[in-house]
């Protein structure tokens, strides 16, 4: 099947849908977009199914040759994007024709860009999902990140319904984020002083970040847990290993682990975290489960009601 031919794969470009659910019993992780917000907008701007397979381009450096005519959208990190060498805008439906070259350069703000095509990339799901998890060799084309010469199949098709997300409705990527946390797991094993330190200190994002977890650096925090049995880890869980430096566990985390956790970052805010670069500053804020639910519902409503601009 034709689609797009990969000329330059970029540093880490992955085919993925919203993630693999219901396979934790086999030890398979979730995968899926590190930034759900930008991913969801990409599909919505094309009128795609919410779970349609997109390309997540971390840091940039991608060049694709189109073999078909197709509508597409690029959302997420701000990066120099070019169609046959001419600059093109992000967050807006555009057309590409067979023979055209699409380039997504290195991100200038944010780190993850999302490329959606009309109808999504046509990838056979494994364990119910197309999400590529390189560590597990599952999903995508061959369980791996894009390689030069890969062919990304899609049936193409253009839409006359060209839309744009207004600048004021787009997320902004900077070098600071406040991450809202639902306290949970072993939170009571962190005494009030430790909790105070955790929620009142500024942390920096280290270089040691990957799709499994983002390691932070700052005030150390310690729990009074002595030995603990391995247990299930949910998305966004904040693990505090013996060195006291928090790790936020992300999409490709191992499904079980044995380090104390103080709570979990809400998915809306792991999306913000995923767009930060090393050295960015972070603060944590504890919220109640009611607040977390409110934020989720409000965000859903905002996403559904937000009207797109015709262009």
């Amino acid at each position: 099947m034709s689609g797009f031919l990969v000329q330059q794969p970029g540093l880490l470009s992955l085919l993925l849908d919203r993630g693999r659910y219901g396979a934790h019993n086999l030890g398979l992780t979730t995968g899926g977009p590190l930034d759900f917000v930008a991913f969801d907008w990409a599909n919505r701007l094309l009128g795609n199914d919410a779970n349609a397979t997109c390309l997540e381009i971390s840091f940039g450096g991608l060049a694709l040759d189109a073999e078909i005519d197709c509508s597409f959208v690029i959302t997420g990190a701000e990066a120099p994007c070019k169609l046959n060498g001419d600059a093109i805008p992000q967050w807006q439906t555009l057309d590409i024709q067979a023979g055209d070259r699409l380039e997504i350069g290195f991100a200038t703000y944010g780190t993850r860009a999302y490329l959606a095509v009309k109808g999504g990339f046509d990838i056979a799901p494994s364990f119910g999902s197309t999400a590529t998890v390189v560590r597990e060799k599952i999903g995508g084309l061959h369980g791996d990140k894009l390689q030069a010469g890969d062919r990304l199949p899609c049936s193409g098709g253009t839409t006359t319904d060209k839309r744009r997300l207004a600048a004021g409705d787009r997320p902004h990527y900077g070098d600071f984020a406040r991450l809202r946390v639902v306290p949970g797991y072993q939170q009571s094993a962190f005494d009030p002083t430790q909790q105070w330190r955790f929620y009142n200190s500024e942390y920096s994002l280290t270089e040691r970040c990957d799709r499994m977890g983002f390691r932070l650096e700052g005030e150390t925090v310690h729990s009074n847990m002595v030995g603990m049995l391995s247990e299930g880890i949910c998305h966004g869980a904040i693990q505090i290993p013996a060195d006291g430096q928090p790790i936020v566990l992300m999409n490709d985390r191992q499904t079980i682990g044995g380090y104390p956790k103080i709570g979990s970052v809400i998915p809306l805010d792991t999306s913000k975290l995923a767009q930060l670069t090393a050295g960015s500053k972070l603060r944590f804020e504890a919220i109640s489960i009611e607040q977390a639910h409110n934020i989720h519902c409000l965000e859903q409503a905002r996403f559904q009601r937000c009207s797109l601009q015709a262009c």
């Binding site: 019993n25 364990f127 949970g184 391995s230 949910c234 191992q254 709570g263 809400i266 489960i289 639910h293």
Partner: protein, 225 residues
């Protein structure tokens, strides 16, 4: 039993402080009951040694409804079939060739290699958890005499099928990976095959027996040295 928040859309249920066959059976019963009574709103369940992570669909339900349903499901485990899972036999080619740490374990325990192999086979193990990597099943508990601490320096490359011991746990490596467990043999059975249904020969709660096979049988069953 204790229900704690894990995240925005997940609870973790703690059944006990320590693991045991009884706790594991209770968790299995809880999994069955939750699937039967709450199926539609549950996204994923992660049973482990003494806990169960319950991840729910925030677009179909909420924290309060799920907690209530979870309590009901957990309070009513008596009638649920908690039989000890399937009994699965896994063949193992035990030898120094296939298990480079056999000698060290034997020496430390003051046993012969044959005795170590015999003791590993005598036990019936239970699958307490699956994780770390796809198809990696944590089996317990290993007889104290042959329990062995993890290697100080993990190996870069442990072969697929390696049968290994760490403390009182044993496992079969489902794929080539780095690993710090003590290797005592090789199992020709694929522990995870994404192209096969079911993709794993075991599930959490199953009981496992290991059975020694010869080098020739190992090779005949598709094993690679």
């Amino acid at each position: 039993m204790k229900i704690e928040i894990a995240g925005q859309n997940s609870f973790i249920v703690y059944f006990a402080e320590q693991t045991s066959a009884a706790v594991s059976a209770q968790i299995q019963a809880a999994v069955a009951n939750i699937i039967a009574t709450m199926g539609d709103s549950i996204i994923d369940l992660v049973p482990s040694y003494a806990s169960l992570l319950v991840i729910f669909d925030l677009d179909r339900s909420d924290h309060f409804a799920i907690r209530k349903q979870l309590r009901a499901a957990l309070n009513n485990l008596d009638g649920v079939d908690s039989s000890a899972g399937e009994l699965v036999t896994l063949p193992v080619y035990y030898s120094v060739e296939a298990g480079p740490d056999l000698e060290i374990i034997a020496e430390r325990a003051g046993l012969s290699i044959e005795q170590v192999i015999e003791i590993h086979q005598q036990q019936e193990y239970r699958v307490y958890a699956i994780g770390f990597a796809p198809g990696f099943a944590y089996l317990g508990e290993v007889d104290e005499r042959i329990a062995a601490p993890r290697l100080a320096t993990p190996r870069q490359k442990v072969p697929r099928g390696a049968v290994a011991i760490a403390d009182r746990q044993t496992a079969v490596y489902p794929a080539v990976s780095p690993g710090g467990w003590n290797l005592i043999g090789l199992c020709p059975t694929r522990m995870f095959d994404p192209d096969r249904t079911p993709s794993m020969p075991v599930a959490v709660g199953d009981r496992i027996r290991f059975e020694a096979i010869s080098r020739d049988e190992f090779l005949a069953q598709g094993g690679e040295l």
